[in-house]
């Protein structure tokens, strides 16, 4: 579907915040789902980018980092361009309004972006833990603050917030607070550790996985991960899976 680019901001070095007009998709979008975007340039395949927010039920916002040829071409689009997008795709996060205790959203790097939509849907119940490389790479913290109960920041080099990994923050929180559930999105090593800690604490955890994709709709079976001993399609069966079942090296 062709969607007009109606908002474009540069949030930080190599990080772009796009808003596209797409009433149909916006209506159906659920938190944790993604868009599959034809970027042009040297990129032949589409690129999966998570939904970061839905605005006014008509616009979808997504935030991305320029990594290679695809995201580089995407960043070059001008306002008013029409992007060829498939979506919303995949199974998103499952909300559990019945949760009584704290609900933790744990993001790292580009995994931070999809958690905003989730935090919003939680209507102030979310406790958000975000990990970044350094102070310069901290983004969207204010936005998270306005929609969450609590935001904890960690940076690898200690230049902002907690000095260390977001998983250390997680351990601290767990040691002193009752928690109902964990949601996580970020680099695989981080999510693996989060899921391990969740397991040790017998907490349910939902993890949003990344894998190289082809079709994005479940047909080509190239984007598999191993979950509960089975090869699952990240694009269609996920990207969100039960973190307890994910085999991180499969």
């Amino acid at each position: 579907m062709l969607c007009e680019l109606v908002g474009k901001r540069k949030l930080a070095e190599k990080i772009y915040d796009f808003t596209v007009q797409c009433p149909e998709m916006a209506k159906n979008a659920r938190t944790g789902q993604f868009l599959h975007i034809l970027c042009g340039g040297e990129a032949y395949l589409r690129r999966p980018i998570s939904i970061c927010d839905v605005v006014d039920k008509r616009y979808i916002r997504f935030v991305f980092e320029v990594k290679g040829v695809g995201t580089d071409a995407l960043a070059k689009y001008e306002l008013g361009s029409r992007l060829d997008i498939l979506g919303p795709l995949g199974n998103g996060f499952e909300l559990h309004p019945e949760d009584k205790n704290a609900v933790l959203l744990i993001g790292g790097g580009i995994g931070v972006f999809p958690l905003l939509f989730l935090a919003k849907q939680m209507k102030g119940r979310a406790t958000v833990l975000l990990g970044f490389r350094n102070k310069q790479s901290v983004i969207m913290a204010d936005e998270f603050a306005t929609v969450s109960r609590n935001v904890f920041l960690a940076t690898d080099d200690g230049s902002f917030g907690y000095h260390g990994f977001v998983t250390d923050v997680l351990k601290n929180i767990l040691s002193s607070n009752p928690v109902s559930r964990i949601y996580t999105c970020g680099p695989a090593p981080m999510m693996k550790l989060v899921c391990q800690i969740a397991g040790e604490n017998a907490l349910p955890v939902q993890a949003s996985l990344e894998e190289r994709m082809g079709c994005g709709i479940g047909a080509c079976v190239t984007c598999t991960c191993t979950v509960g001993g089975q090869r699952k399609r990240v694009c269609k069966d996920g990207p969100v899976f039960d973190g307890a079942e994910v085999e991180w090296n499969g």
Partner: protein, 303 residues
């Protein structure tokens, strides 16, 4: 309106467009995008006797105007297909082609027997570069091709297409071997064997190291092979390899293909199959060609 029907080894397709096996799953996903009855035939994902998990991920890598894949024939097995997928597929007014996978000749024979006449045609996949046994090893040796073809042919209740590997010195020889073994048609090309290395990690991008190259990049090789096979055998040819537009499809048909398959282009654009079908029709109409069969093999070689 031009006549779009083609007859492939006795099976009538309403138009010459099918799907590249493995790129279309069992059709469920694409049925959200268009009516599957619009296709001449659906070539299904490879089926083996038992379920297969395929290879670990990453299983796909992007290359200039192409992709490498190393899926490795992941599939639910012939039995699950018959019980779960086939009844659903039968609602569509199109022909069904089962792609047969195996590691030994016995495997191929067994899966053909299991499927019986539940589908309209078989495609013998002896050209997959992504499995250790069987697969490409069968498809690069003329004697093996003839042998496996004739044994599967003996048990086939439906017309048998043999899918050829492009990773050979002489594609015409392979096609002749398939014909000699009793193939009712040949399809080509399967993927070219390739590799991509990530210079940052210094590792192959595909977890399985190597994979099969498909998409527009391979088109010139595929067109050349279709032409060479057309000169070598009398049986129908299903041409594929990078087809993205109606004009690409026409190019393959001019070279000698009686029908075409679209694979990778559909991975990028879910409407590719319909665009190709419409594009062929448009070409025929614009050039006042009454019947699509008129363009088959109609290339005029320069002297």
């Amino acid at each position: 309106m031009a006549e779009m029907r083609v007859n492939i080894a006795g099976v009538e397709w309403k138009n010459p467009v099918t799907t590249g096996s493995g790129t279309f799953g069992f059709g469920r996903e694409y049925s959200d995008f268009f009516d599957l009855s619009e296709l001449g035939a659906i070539c299904l994902k490879a089926l083996s006797v038992k379920p297969r998990q395929g290879n670990p991920s990453p299983r796909i890598a992007e290359t200039p105007k192409g992709i490498l894949n190393s899926v490795g024939l992941q599939n639910p097995g012939a039995e699950a297909f018959l019980s779960t997928e086939l009844p659903w597929l039968r609602q569509f007014d199109t022909k069904l082609i089962a792609n047969l996978a195996g590691s030994t000749i016995e495997d191929y024979v067994q899966v053909a027997e299991m499927l019986g006449d539940s589908v309209d045609m078989f495609e013998l996949n002896i050209s997959c570069p992504n499995v250790k046994e069987g697969g490409m090893a069968f498809g690069t040796d003329a004697k093996m091709i003839e042998n496996v073809t004739s044994q599967v042919k003996q048990v086939s209740k439906v017309p048998l297409i043999v899918k050829l590997s492009p990773n050979v010195t002489d594609i015409a020889e392979m096609a002749r071997a398939a014909e000699a073994g009793g193939a009712d048609a040949v399809s080509l090309i399967n993927t070219l064997f390739g590799m991509r290395i990530d210079v940052k990690t210094r590792r192959p991008v595909l977890r399985n190291n190597m994979g099969g190259l498909s998409g527009p990049a391979v088109k010139p090789v595929a067109v050349r092979m279709v032409y060479q096979v057309r000169q070598a055998v009398k049986i129908p040819i299903i041409g594929m390899g990078g087809i993205t537009t109606g004009e690409d499809a026409v190019e393959f048909m001019l070279a000698g293909a009686n029908a075409v398959a679209v694979g990778t282009a559909g991975i990028v654009d879910p409407y590719a199959w319909i665009r190709v079908r419409n594009g062929i029709e448009q070409y025929l109409n614009e050039n006042n060609i009454a019947d699509v069969n008129e363009i088959v093999g109609a290339v005029q070689m320069n002297d």
